[in-house]
Symmetry: D2
Subunit: 230 residues, 4 copies
């Protein structure tokens, strides 16, 4: 098992089932631009604003995971993630945008790009229509993808890229620790609902579909960020 | 397989796992009072008002099943049931109550007994927290229990019981047909989520728990009806 | 009040607040292509498949409206609409596609375009996050827009357009009647939550925003249909 | 405004509209037994187990409030409350029960009394069917009632009551601070949805009804605790 599997056989299997889209997402031109520093600052700022709105809905999705938890472990992991998102991860966005004269209320009320809406509302509805595990399959590409991208860029980025702070956030111990604990929790959640051989369960295909759709919507998000306007 | 299994191995297995509560529910003193005609009319009327409010929320629960359907078959069965409940089954209540001078708006706004709230809100939350099948396990005791009770009473009731119309409603072809189609749909829904041996799936125990809890809440509903006031 | 207001002051006010997007939507090149017959058949077929998937989720959204109804009138209108959608409106799509050798199961499982996901999931989440009226504001552009487009095309379409059946469906008495009854119900729903002067209520701006966002997502749907592939 | 209004005109108005039930709840024999120390330890332990399960669902309800937040302030207050409940308030229960040899997993899986289910599921469904403010009206009796009871008992309890730790928890600065911040947030939430004169808004009666129903369900909870078994 590689470090980028985050000790999660479920994540690794979902990722392998979404091979093409997963590459498109984690090796996107936007990601390369973060690493070599060629991404225009205006695009990064546009991304940051959209990503703030994304995190608002991503927090709502993790809160829905609290609503849908079956075990204490699921509930604690989900509740901790909501708190980490609302009170910590969003601060990177708030502080960087504050330097550009954009307030948190402006961020909260920014006009969402359609690609942003498509992804976050798809996740919310995966939770409403399915169970905790269906919701996890929709959330997973974001959680783990950013971990993988952050860690990869931390090894490959140009030393003078202006996006080092972003890279540090997602390659840092805090975020990598979130990936590990979510990965372990998802493995337990999968075992509790699908049994010891999750890939043999009739729900497996549908869970892979959800993960793949969400991965494609992440690609759409990068493309929106490259385009540079809502 | 007996006629009262409604061709559903899933229902039959859930019922067998809830043996004691299922007997308490389907052979309750209230049920006997319907059959031998000893149930006081005031209690029946009280029941009818509470059951109208119950059906409002039961319709909402079947509407939530439409929201949570994964297949066309699930969606059509659930949508048809919502329509049958809102536009047909509730009419027995409306008409009987109208004869007593109680309007449908009064019924809709009647004060709910706590036992009524406990059952219906438990069902709604089973749907919100779980998937389609979790919701079905919470709905099943009502759907099939009334079928079993109606059919049993149609064979055993005193010829002069004043509750013949109630018995006819639930033993009639329409209602028995609903039980059959819901039973078949639940079998398919269980297979699609749990595989060919649903009882071996790790979710099985939790589904039986949900069915048993809902059955106990049905017993509470009869007890509220016997008590005769909210 | 014009015939295309569907006797609904709420709809008329929402539409007027969304002026630009409403024109972009109801007078889109796709709509013109339906009317003058220049729309390529492949695009229509692609639209029909996507619209079938749209209607699946639109039915789920109306089912969520049953879940969120506060009055008997709201519940009956919403339940009737679910039934009309699942058992009737979707038949146009099923029958037309059947002639092209596409089965209903294929339709149900068609790959959704991102624009399709964005719109339907936005509607579902408007319902999950808000109340019945927030959900209605998200549903309204589709309900009334198709009524307006159908009726306008019925007066202006070329006599030999191959899309006469589509135009007949939405300009017909059945669909126009749905618009009227939904319009009246929304007026009552608005009054019950916002008071006699809904536009003075602090929620008004947010409801207009929801309607406008949903209208923009309808424009995106037409653009996806013009593009001709997911 | 009294200290027990928690600076919230909305809470004070809801409480005054629920006068009888509010007294029944905050001055219940169970509360007196906590204060004068006559409550049997077995009843307290039974209560603590049920209240742990209650807090699990209460955390889920506050998580649903995160899902349904419209503003950053609502989201932060709700997310903070979920964290406080899951990671702090429940610890009193866990530690006290641990001394009696009851593990947290046993608590999490304890058999719920019907009165417990009635209350928590009613709250969840108030959130699913309504908006953020409807959910707040259902949550408010618990939040503020425990604040009022804790503070009152801190002034009146017998010096040797064995329930001093419970009293300290709810009269302490942490819990009283939660009441204050929730009270202020609810006032803003009411103003944003109902306008400057919330009591004139057509939703006001329904919000009072929700608060009163939830207060009655709190009375049922104490009665279950007095009875001493599920």
């Amino acid at each position: 098992m590689s470090a980028l599997d985050y000790s999660s056989t479920t994540f690794a299997a979902w990722r392998d089932a979404a091979k093409g889209p997963w590459q498109d997402y984690t090796q996107h031109a936007y990601v390369k631009g973060l690493g070599d520093g060629t991404l225009p600052k205006a695009n990064f700022l546009h991304y940051l604003i959209q990503d703030y709105v994304f995190l608002v809905h991503f927090s709502r999705a993790w809160a829905l995971a609290v609503v849908k938890s079956n075990t204490l472990d699921e509930m604690k992991t989900a509740a901790g993630t909501v708190d980490a998102l609302v009170n910590h991860e969003m601060q990177l966005h708030v502080e960087t945008c504050a330097k550009e004269g954009i307030s948190e209320d402006q961020l909260f009320n920014a006009v969402e790009a359609p690609e942003n809406m498509a992804y976050t509302r798809f996740v919310m509805d995966a939770g409403l229509s399915g169970d905790f595990l269906d919701l996890m399959a929709a959330l997973a590409p974001c959680v783990f993808g950013y971990g993988v991208i952050g860690r990869t860029l931390s090894e490959t980025a140009a030393p003078d890229t202006p996006y080092q702070e972003w890279i540090d956030t997602y390659s840092g111990d805090d975020y990598q620790g979130v990936c590990l604990s979510v990965g372990e929790m998802i493995d337990k959640a999968a075992q509790a609902r699908l049994g010891d051989n999750p890939t043999n369960n009739p729900r497996w295909k549908s869970l892979c579909d959800t993960f793949t759709k969400a991965t494609r919507l992440e690609v759409g998000f990068w493309e929106m960020a490259m385009r540079g306007h809502p």
